[in-house]
């Protein structure tokens, strides 16, 4: 077969090759995002995502969406502007959370025996789905950043509340009150994670009384808007074909 001949001999064969190519690309994209996004999120979200006694109503709510909207924005930029596929955010977060579950189950539980109910990952999926739908409906990076970014931040805490609420039931322990999540952190010894590095309930949002989570979520949403823009541009830049010379195409 010469270079000028087609590799396929019929339309049916072309469709089959195209689908095979789809699965190969999808698998590669999925695993690459899983690895890259997972490392990124562990380095930036880290302990806030690892431990229930870090999942507070101020900093976890603020930090997790801001540092996790990154890869969804970048992958959206590639899949939407190149292929009109509105799954960039969802596929990224599904990859991340599958990676996290593998890590938490095999490493945290399997190797070091932390119960899964102290080290399960945060749920980022509601925000990701809404982010994808807004991009599809609006076909606009700006709209997705402003509305989607804000929604991504706002949906995070309520999307996780059904999972963490049981662990925020109070308990009296040797004369002190703490939540069950605090007690988990105290009981299940982490020699390398002393209590003082736990960044929870710090800040100046005291005038809002007990209702600081919505304020934190709004703040997180606003910053997520900016981060979305930034990473969307990263995604667009990396999705360029300028890296390949024309005569190679």
């Amino acid at each position: 077969m010469s270079a000028s001949q087609s590799a396929v001999r019929s339309r049916a064969e072309a469709v089959q090759v195209s689908r095979t190519f789809d699965w190969m690309i999808l698998f590669t994209l999925f695993t690459a995002v899983l690895g890259g996004y997972h490392i990124h999120y562990m380095l930036t979200g880290g302990d806030w995502d690892f431990w229930t006694d870090w999942k507070d109503r101020r900093l976890w709510v603020t930090v997790a969406p801001i540092v996790s909207i990154t890869f969804p924005a970048a992958v959206q930029a590639c899949l939407w502007w190149r292929y009109r596929l509105p799954v960039g955010a969802t596929i990224s977060v599904v990859a991340l959370m599958i990676g996290e579950w593998i890590n938490r189950y095999l490493n945290f539980w399997g190797w070091t025996y932390f119960p899964v109910n102290i080290c399960f990952p945060s749920n980022l999926l509601p925000g990701a789905i809404v982010l994808d739908v807004i991009l599809m409906l609006g076909n606009s990076m700006t709209l997705t950043a402003v509305v989607g970014g804000l929604a991504y931040g706002l949906l995070f805490y309520p999307g996780n509340w059904p999972v963490i609420a049981p662990l925020h039931v109070p308990v009296e322990y040797n004369g002190m009150m703490m939540t069950l999540a605090d007690l988990q952190g105290y009981h299940y010894v982490r020699t390398g994670t002393p209590e003082y590095i736990r960044m929870v309930e710090k800040g100046t949002l005291r005038t809002f009384g007990k209702d600081v989570a919505p304020v934190s979520a709004f703040f997180s949403g606003f910053v997520s808007i900016i981060i979305y823009f930034l990473w969307h541009f990263f995604g667009r830049w990396f999705a360029k074909t300028d890296f390949i010379a024309d005569d190679n195409l």
Binding site: R84, I129, V133, P162, P170, D182, L183, P194, E201
Partner: protein, 413 residues
């Protein structure tokens, strides 16, 4: 195939086999690198003493305690942040025990505490056995800006099966739960629900041709034809469904758990100190040398007894290693062998130091522990000083503690 290619192929196969085989050899990490920690940190920060491990063997679900005292050394090194924010930890390989309680001066310390230089504190850690095995159990203090300061460790065996471990806790709402697996089904359920919704959204798109035809369409200006009105309706259904499920699940959760509180955090100050009997002996270190070949530290001490009863020097304790003069004091606490030099302390004249008497003596603390615990590495530290605790006893058995802190000169011949 060329011989060169064959060698390359076989080398690659050998590498893969080696790497795979390596996965099957994963020995348990038993200790905590305590010997690797800079010697000056162990000798000049937290001095642990009177340590007692209540058991050497404990069954799953049974408890043991590690209690004792620690002195926050007044000559705290400049290169380590002061213990203004510290956490009483326990040095074990992960949650092989759970920490059922920890106290400093009788105060529960689940949070960080502020410690004062020069003060002594009494502590206790209650441990409940969880995972069978032989574990090195250390006292440990984490200091913000200073890192973990690990104390002496002792081997403890946990017997039984981890499957039998239970961790019952009664909440303030009156419910008794097993914290070991509490709410786990709820975690799995909600994650499964959201994964199912996300996969449904992905499946809706990836079931149709994806990359090549769509790329061609976008490149030829037909991008808008790729999203149909039906797709938009499905998208809106997913978005609205997501918001409704989030709102509804939050509402139902609030009904199910009407009483919840925020995570508790904060620094505990004003910890109760332990008042040691006031020392009536004063000690001046005239000089101190470490003889590298002999694994021995020699001190010239000028001791003055300002009390009203004669005393003798019985113990030098540094970095948890105890050098004893058996003629004065013998250990009856079952202290770890590797940290105990039962005949490791020699005093040139250890006759009772009479009240009002001043005497200059040569004191030698020698034992393999200097090497084994890498305390000899002090000579490579940035601040080559040693420090430790001297314990004196009178004829009635009354003990007093004196701290020493001085430069150390190594001798290599």
């Amino acid at each position: 195939m060329k011989i060169k290619d064959k060698v390359a192929k076989l080398s690659f196969v050998a590498l893969l086999i080696t790497m795979t085989a390596a996965m099957f050899y994963a020995p348990t990490a038993s200790a905590h690198g305590e010997k690797s920690q800079a010697a000056f940190m162990r000798m000049r920060t937290i001095h642990w003493f009177d340590l007692h491990w209540s058991k050497e063997e404990v069954a799953v679900n049974d408890t043991m305690t590690l209690n004792g005292k620690f002195l926050v050394f007044a000559g705290w090194p400049e290169t380590v942040d002061k213990p203004e924010v510290s956490f009483l930890n326990i040095g074990i390989p992960g949650p092989v025990f759970i920490r059922a309680g920890s106290w400093i001066g009788g105060q529960l310390v689940p949070r960080s505490v502020s410690l004062e230089l020069g003060e002594t504190y009494e502590f206790k850690v209650l441990l409940k056995a969880r995972r069978p095995g032989d574990w090195h159990v250390h006292s440990m203090m984490n200091v913000q800006g200073g890192g973990p300061i690990i104390g002496p460790g002792k081997w403890v065996t946990i017997t039984g099966s981890m499957a039998d471990f239970v961790n019952p806790v009664t909440t303030l709402t009156g419910q008794t739960i097993d914290l070991e697996n509490y709410a786990l089904d709820n975690v799995y359920f909600w994650h499964a629900v959201w994964f199912a919704i996300a996969f449904a959204w992905l499946l809706f798109w990836i079931k149709r041709p994806m990359f090549v035809p769509r790329h061609i369409a976008v490149s030829t200006g037909k991008a808008n034809s790729l999203i149909s009105a039906g797709d938009k309706k499905v998208g809106m259904a997913f978005a609205l469904g997501t918001i409704v499920i989030v709102a509804a699940s939050m509402g139902s959760t609030n009904e199910k758990y009407p009483v919840t509180t925020p995570l508790q955090a904060g620094l505990l100050r004003g910890m109760k100190t332990f008042q040691m009997p006031e020392a009536t002996v004063s000690v001046k270190v005239d000089d101190a040398t470490y003889r590298v070949p002999g694994r021995a530290m020699q001190m010239t001490l000028t001791m003055t007894n300002n009390g009203d009863s004669a005393v003798r020097l019985g113990e030098f304790n540094t970095a948890g290693v105890r050098f004893l003069d058996p003629a004065v004091h013998e250990d009856d606490t079952n202290y770890p062998d590797d940290l105990l030099a039962e005949e490791g302390l020699t005093v040139s004249d250890n006759s009772p130091l009479a009240p009002g008497e001043t005497r200059t003596v040569e004191v030698t603390a020698s034992d393999a522990a200097w090497e084994v615990y890498r305390l000899a590495d002090l000579i490579y530290d940035p601040d080559s000083r040693f420090a430790g605790l001297l314990f004196f006893w009178d004829a009635k058995g009354a003990r007093q503690l004196v701290t020493v802190d001085a430069p150390l000169i190594p001798t290599f011949i």
